[in-house]
Amino acid sequence: MKLAEHYTRTSVYITLTVLLFGAVIYYFAINYIAQQQLDRGLQQQLTEAEEYARSNDQNPQLYDLDRDHAVFVKTNLQQLQKRFFDTTYFNPKEQRAEAGRAVEDLVKVKSSNYKVVIAISRAGQKYLIEVITIITLTLLAGLLFVLFITNKYLLKGLWKPFQLTLKEIKQFNIADVDQFTGKPSEVDEFTELNEAIREMSLRVTHDYLKLKQFTENASHEMMTPLAVVTTKLDTLIQDETLGANQLAQITDIYSSINKSSRLNQSLLLLAKLENKLITEEEPIELDIILAEKMQQFQELMQSKNLSLQHQLQPKQILASKYLVDILLNNLFSNAIRHNNTGGVVIIQLTTHSLSIKNSGGANPLNTDLIFERFQKGKESQGTGLGLTLVKNICQHYGYTIHYHHETVLHAFVITF
């Protein structure tokens, strides 16, 4: 659940609870106030009635009030607690009973006691309370609605900078030249967040660049000693006094140097790809290049007795010839190297994908690891960077590559 939803939910619950409690208390308070007011009116009338009775020395029943019902009843009670109570009031005008409020008290007129009951209608008050209640409820509903809408839409706007920042973080690529900027926001917290992320990304990028620079420099620096060793060996083998034994050793040294230098080349190329340093592009007829590659690798296939099947549809891509070359070389080399003698290589090019399949081991490769650096089969003579390069070149051009295994075929499929 989103933060805004959490917030909306909580705020609505709290508001609702507070308002409901408030409404109940409010209702009772209004009721009480209204009752107090009625009682005060009754008390006034009672006083008037008593005054009248006392001053006129007459039968208080004659006390005549237009609207109110004041009833005097002779009583023998000596004591009566004055009390206010709810009753029904008969409205003579409307000819109907209404809710009413009454007061009863003892009035002494000369020597006799009268119990006086004065009743007035509560209908007006009730109506007022009803109206107030409706207004209050309407306000409450309105308030809730507004609160909900505000949270839903206005807060969404408020969170926009956060969403943008998040999006930028998701898109953040350490190898990208453009850095994290963050959208300026009027909210301090977001500004602070952006600032923190910016600093973090700068630190990370800086470290990354340093590391990469180190890799590049190290690779370059290693090339010269490798070149020295190679040329020394080339000179050494001219010595005719060397025996088969020494020459066999030298052959192994050659192989190792070769591996080192290829490893270096691959690492450098990876660094360049990650830096997006390879920018030149040209239209490439992939079907023609593939045909050339098949020609180029023909002998190697023959040496392993591999049969080649291919279906090539014309397909033009915009890419660096150099990178496409490396990509295909790696895929072809793998398809041949990891093949069984007498196996098969199947190449299919359509307008939207290129698949290179080869027979090989019965078990599928580990899809999580094959594109990782330095993951290679036990018998592999490669650098362990071939498929990493392939993957990075694909990424460089926005292609996807995936591996799957079907019965005995290992397939690499590039989708354009």
Binding site: T224, T230, K232, L233, S255, R262, F297
Partner: protein
């Protein structure tokens, strides 16, 4: 052929110089840009071997110098940076070829000969070696005036061996020359053997001498006599 090697790494320079100093070639060398420009101002060379990363400047300056002084030495760049930009820049500035470190001396020699041949613009564009005559642009080979049919790879090999005649060449170097270092097939030298066997047989069948000898499984030598 007169060659100038511009390379700051001393041992590399020495090895290159000694490898190239055969067959009446004169090979001079220097280790920096200033010395190189001085030499180029004073003398003419046929070929210049140029390392791009020099301690006292960019090797590209040499190319600029050659261009502004209308000198037409063939230039082969050697660089530790296998960078496409450098390569293109070098070639645009008038270099004839580009070689990445580490390289085999045999490869260097073959490339040097190739750029030299292209640059020299011999009217008679034939490479003659004893009874073997190779027409470079036409890609035809005659042995004792008898045409022989070579595959592209065999043809490349023959040129390569003749450029490096009298030298022992490792299988590694041959593989790299024939398939480029991108082929990544260095764990498999069988096909080299096949090509060499075929080339040798074709030369022998046409009445040529047996020039190719195998050196203890390490490589081959194309006898220069």
């Amino acid at each position: 052929m007169k060659i100038l090697v511009i390379e700051d790494e001393q041992s590399l320079r020495e090895n290159i110089t000694s490898y190239l100093n055969v067959d009446g070639n004169i090979c001079e060398s220097c280790g920096g840009l200033t010395a190189a420009l001085q030499k180029l101002a004073d003398y003419d060379y046929d070929c210049v071997l140029l390392d791009i990363g020099l301690p006292d400047g960019q090797g590209f300056d040499v190319l600029e110098f050659l261009r502004t002084h209308h000198k037409n030495e063939a230039v082969l760049i050697i660089s530790a940076r296998n960078s496409l930009d450098d390569k293109l820049k070098g070639l645009n500035l008038g270099a004839d070829d580009y070689l990445t470190k580490p390289f085999h001396l045999a490869e260097l020699k073959a490339r040097l000969m190739a750029v030299y041949r292209r640059k020299a613009l011999n009217t008679n564009n034939k490479l003659i070696f004893n009874e073997i005559a190779i027409d470079i642009p036409g890609r035809t080979v005659e042995v004792n005036d008898t045409p022989i049919i070579l595959t592209r790879k065999e043809h490349e090999m023959l040129l390569y061996f003749i450029a490096n005649k009298g030298k022992v060449i490792s299988k590694n170097a041959i593989a790299e020359h024939l398939w480029g270092d991108e082929m990544d097939m260095h764990d498999n030298f069988d096909f080299i053997y096949t090509h060499i066997k075929n080339l040798r047989r074709k030369l022998l069948d046409a009445g040529g001498k047996d020039y190719l000898t195998s050196i203890y499984g390490l490589g081959y030598k194309f006898i220069s006599s």
